[in-house]
């Protein structure tokens, strides 16, 4: 199952439509067909070819990530962290402020360094997303971290709290 999440704050109809169209065009093709489940948020576009919910409780949400072969998301840090914690590769596609998908373009700016993270694959266009989807069996999750960056942050906080 491919799990798609648009986040909680802004609609991201473009991502929903990309996936809906991808499923529709692959329906007859067994090699590429795979169930898709989408968390839509507040968008207007309702998928015709996949199951979906607007919002999910945290437990259901995490369960869907865990069950998925690939997690597709807006370029939000929360989902990148969750994908790694659950051992699932993630494809992120950035929101664009000019399309009303966010209040600024920090997701676009973030895409370059996100691509450096293990287990994170980035796409800024429909073609790039479809390209990654077609080779999704080759995508690998990031290794669980050993908190090499988190530990010094925690040690510092413990010293000042």
């Amino acid at each position: 199952m491919i799990f798609v999440a648009t986040g909680t704050q802004f609609p991201f109809d473009r991502l929903v439509r990309y996936l809906d169209e991808w499923v529709a065009s692959n329906k007859a093709d067994n090699k590429h067909s795979e169930a898709v489940f989408m968390q839509l948020g507040e968008g207007d576009y309702l998928p015709q070819h996949t199951q979906w919910k607007r919002f999910m409780g945290l437990e259901d949400y995490n369960e869907k990530i865990k069950q998925s072969s690939v997690f597709i998301s807006h370029a939000g840090m929360g989902n990148i962290i969750s994908a790694k914690d659950h051992g699932v590769p993630i494809i992120v596609i950035n929101r664009q402020a000019s399309l009303g998908e966010h209040r600024n373009d920090h997701q676009q700016e973030g895409l370059a360094w996100m691509a450096e993270l293990e287990g994170v694959y980035t796409a800024s266009t429909q073609e790039a997303l479809y390209g990654l989807l077609d080779q999704r069996e080759t995508l690998r999750a990031g290794k669980k971290s050993h908190d090499t960056s988190l530990t010094p942050l925690i040690d510092y906080l413990k010293s000042v709290l």
Partner: protein
């Protein structure tokens, strides 16, 4: 007046909340962390020993909600009496830290890892008021006011 070892951890939902949890989870062995975040349908959720207070969902784009959110946070701070207020962002954290400043509580701002090129908008707003401002990116530290001590990744 403020309870030693007690931390009020505030954030908006989504990525800020995921980061706040990554940090809070590692502090819970030594500190009592009380969480506050907009939780939608949940009210005060008890997750094991953990307390999560539901607060209003407001952002800088919904200014009309900021005042009731401030009253809600003010009440929560008086009730919980934390020694420290900590936030990863965004608007609820800004308000909580301003209230902490007024009340003489130690405040810590941990800027979201999503902001790579400069501090988040809320981080820039709050940096003059928070006692400690941390960035998760070495290049955004100025070595004085904005410190880099590590990251959640």
């Amino acid at each position: 007046m403020w309870k030693k070892g007690k931390v009020l951890a505030v954030s908006s939902p989504g990525g800020h909340w995921v980061q706040l949890n990554k940090i809070g989870n590692k502090l819970e062995d030594q500190f009592l962390i009380i969480y506050a975040s907009p939780r939608g349908q949940y009210k005060v959720a008890q997750q094991g020993e953990r307390v999560v207070h539901n607060i209003m969902d407001a952002s800088a784009d919904s200014k009309i909600k900021l005042l009731p959110l401030a009253l809600q946070l003010f009440w929560l701070i008086l009730k919980e009496r934390p020694a420290t207020i900590m936030s990863t962002g965004a608007a609820p954290g800004v308000i909580a830290i301003l209230l902490g400043k007024i009340l003489g509580i130690k405040t810590i701002w941990i800027d979201s890892i999503a902001n790579v090129q400069r501090l988040s908008r809320s981080g820039r707003m709050i940096q003059a008021y928070a006692d400690i401002v941390l960035t998760q990116w070495p290049n955004l530290s100025d070595g004085e006011k904005i410190l880099h001590k590590g990251s959640v990744l």
